[in-house]
Subunit: 249 residues, 2 copies
């Protein structure tokens, strides 16, 4: 059990802290959607765990890290990282350095590979400090106007059509029984196909929200019933991420 | 279907936009956990939908609204607002004014009464613009190190002990089957009771995270298995909000 001061310096010889650093959802030079606290902390750190070093350098440059970027220490955590390698990733914090887990877009450890490192930090007595930042899941939920008292995020749905249909029917049933919003994402080139499936499968009275390009200038968000959507189904762009939310009506 | 430019001025005679404005989770004069975009927009608005006018004035003052605060227009949306009154709340936007839905703590329309207004905005063709800000649900999930690819927020659990027990058992079963994190909150004075119930009911191998005072200087976050928690159960403070998260091990 550890106190987690966000501002006080860690005690000498104590483990460093693991800061969870969000990053913008779309690339912009002004970071207007980052908080001063997160930027200030990111700029002070020298040790980072990242998905890919090249992307991380670009993000830190946008965040105004004073660098030199070549002197920063990056260790990788992505789908190729074995569980046995996690402890090595945490080493700087165990040796007393503050460490940043930096997301490539959105919030670390949410729909992102960072969570096992955070859990290991708790086991090793490394204080964990999450920082506020953009999340397409949360922005989508806020903007949907659907039930915000109860909601579930499911990541990706099964790709196999029969499995996908039966999954959607079971999620719609849960949504009706518990009055909860169901949230999921799709690979951009499959956005249009998923939308068509939702319009075919869900009940006419079910509320559906589709949000694309959240937080970007070309942001597009719309909520309507399946019956309303079916009157003039839109064409989603196949190159940008979308988030889908529904609530049984 | 409407384009939602975040920055461009709305066209003359078009409806105003509904901005969803988060607010800090704890009262602080510096707003270091608010984004420049959200602060900039909040400071420019003159029409707001809020839970309580007095609290909203205090928050807007902290956000640096140039005022005069007495000249701002507040309409109330809270548990006493009837569905039939919602359209009146949206009136400024329908008349062409940008309108802010301001949360008292965290993100509007998430575990907060604002969602029906947002849904009505979609029905009336009012563009909805969600702004990034602090959310205890998202900060708790990031900091827990539990499964961030799939998670469910349930609000409050039933109070009746038998119902609460059976609910927890069913949530733990779902967590095991779908590998999803279960998230819920409690009224602060019941925090300790809920913790004890979790330690009694959940399987020894289930991972539990408890987070108190998220984003505040006295923030406290810990994740461990039920077996580990039971070795030295902590005393939670009865006056501050906590969030509870678990994942079947």
């Amino acid at each position: 059990m550890t106190q987690h001061p966000r501002t006080a310096s860690p005690q000498p010889h104590a483990p460093g802290r693991l800061f969870l650093i969000p990053s913008p959802l779309w690339e912009t030079a002004d970071c207007l959607q980052m908080t001063p606290e997160a930027l200030d902390i990111a700029r002070q750190l020298r040790f980072f765990v990242v998905e890919e070093a090249k992307t991380a350098r670009r993000i830190l440059k946008i965040m105004g890290h004073p660098g030199p970027l070549a002197d920063l220490h990056f260790s990788l955590l992505n789908e190729h990282t074995a569980a046995s390698e996690l402890e090595q990733r945490l080493l700087p914090a165990l040796q007393g350095h503050d460490l940043g887990l930096l997301s490539e877009a959105g919030c670390p450890a949410v729909a992102d590979p960072g969570a096992p490192l955070v859990r290991l930090a708790h086991q090793k007595g490394v204080p964990v400090c999450p920082l506020t930042g953009p999340s397409s899941i949360l922005l989508g939920l806020m903007a949907s106007g659907l039930e915000g008292q109860r909601f579930c995020f499911h990541g990706y749905l099964p790709i196999d059509p029969a499995q996908r249909h039966s999954r959607l029917q079971s999620l719609e049933k849960c949504s009706r029984q518990a009055r909860e919003t169901q949230i999921f994402i799709e690979t951009p080139y499959r956005n249009q196909g998923l939308l068509q499936t939702l319009l075919d499968i869900l009940a006419p009275s079910t509320w559906l929200c589709v949000a694309q390009n959240l937080s970007a200038p070309q942001q597009w968000i719309h909520t309507a019933t399946i019956q309303q959507w079916n009157r003039s189904p839109p064409t989603l762009t196949a190159r940008t991420p979308a988030i889908f939310l529904f609530l049984a009506g």
